[in-house]
């Protein structure tokens, strides 16, 4: 059995959750948020994960992962609201063993 990682997610109401994420299901952070229903269905991952809506924007709170964005993500975040230096799109962050201990906050609705 492959390893799960622990990720800390603060939801849009400011509540912090500690969740276990599988690393072998080709999932990303947006899908993790949806699978634990940490944001109202229909308000996160609207475009399905194509970096086309920014509804899964997150703020990265520690240095477990890089803040470097891929070109699609960068382009989308240029047009989104509530963007900060530590903004990333959850759908563009695949869940791997390197994510152990990651802390994020879900950005407000677009």
């Amino acid at each position: 059995m492959s390893q799960d990682v622990t990720i800390f997610i603060t939801d849009r109401n400011g509540v912090k959750h500690e969740v276990l994420a599988p690393t072998d299901m080709n999932m990303n952070i947006m899908e993790l948020i949806r699978s634990y229903e940490l944001a109202e269905e229909g308000t996160v991952g609207v475009c399905g994960g194509m970096a086309m809506c920014a509804s899964c924007q997150c703020y990265i709170l520690n240095d477990v992962i890089s803040l470097e964005r891929n070109p699609d993500e960068e382009a989308m975040l240029w047009e989104a609201y509530h963007v900060k230096d530590n903004s990333r799109l959850g759908c563009q962050i695949p869940i791997t063993v390197d994510l152990e201990g990651l802390e994020i906050e879900i950005a407000p609705e677009q």
């Binding site: 229909g42 194509m50 809506c53 382009a75 047009e79």
Partner: protein, 352 residues
Amino acid sequence: MIQTDILIIGAGPTGLFAVFEAGLLQLKCHIIDALPQPGGQLAELYPKKPIFDIPGYPSVLAGDLVTNLMEQIKQFQPGFTLGETAETIQKLEDGTFIVTTNEGTKHQAKAIAIAGGLGTFEPRKPILKDIEFYEKEDRGVDYFVKDPEKYRGKNIVIAGGGDSALDWSIFLSNVANSVTLVHRRNEFRGALDSVEKVQELKNAGKIKLVTPAEVVGFNGSERITAVDIEVNGARMKVECDYFIPLFGLTPKLGPIANWGLEIEKNAIKVNNALDYQTNIDGIYAIGDVNIYPGKLKLILCGFHEATLMCQSVYNRINPGKRYVLKYTTVSGVDGFDGTRKEAEKAVVKSID
């Protein structure tokens, strides 16, 4: 008043395929959609991206799937009310419904199928002073290109950096007097051929490109006469008749949320054990817009739900009337336009 058997709300793949299944049962359909073209998300969000889980298609571009569905249903002559949002619903004593759009178009139907997907696509609007004033009554701000002819000979400013900004700049450069494309960055994000085409048109002087820049204000007392654009901290004024910001769309369940339907997790609850009917008799919900235990938001599930919904509507409209499921291979497809599709007859002939 538009009269039909099934009024479908939403022209995405599920809504379009419902027309086919209804047609096989001699039921007529009319479709309302808030977007100016059929196809829903597929046409609006990702027309040039492939889908890999449509049975029988190892890969199909979303835009091609829409084109194919339109071809598949054309003999059943669906009516369309495009660019309008279904706003109110009224149930009459005879069991029929009247649905009125935001523009006042009335539709009377024997059953309603809500195939609304993620909801009504509403434009993401730039935060600009007085934009609410200029977006009304043809004062110059448009969020959709509904009728390109409106822009013939006019001066247009388009803002945005994605496919729709690129594609409409290309299209309108042949129609308008001038097209200025404003984007916050130098990089555009779209299909390669669109980006290349805009580069070509820019080089030929047919599109004026202003980047990295942003529209920051409006001029004109009764309607727009010019927009203010900020480029690298400096301001410039560009005269124009229309400003079209294309910053993408966000889906909202919209007025349907007030129809008295049972809603859960931003979706409409239906009876999946039977026919995908909602808590209101005669109103069905199919495709991504509905929810039931085990629901999966897949196009192929929407097709299935559409098929069962049509059978249920048939029984509702024709109580007690006998019918058995037919296979199109056996019975062919008789269009309302008089056309007939059928399998070629086998030959009965001796071989010497």
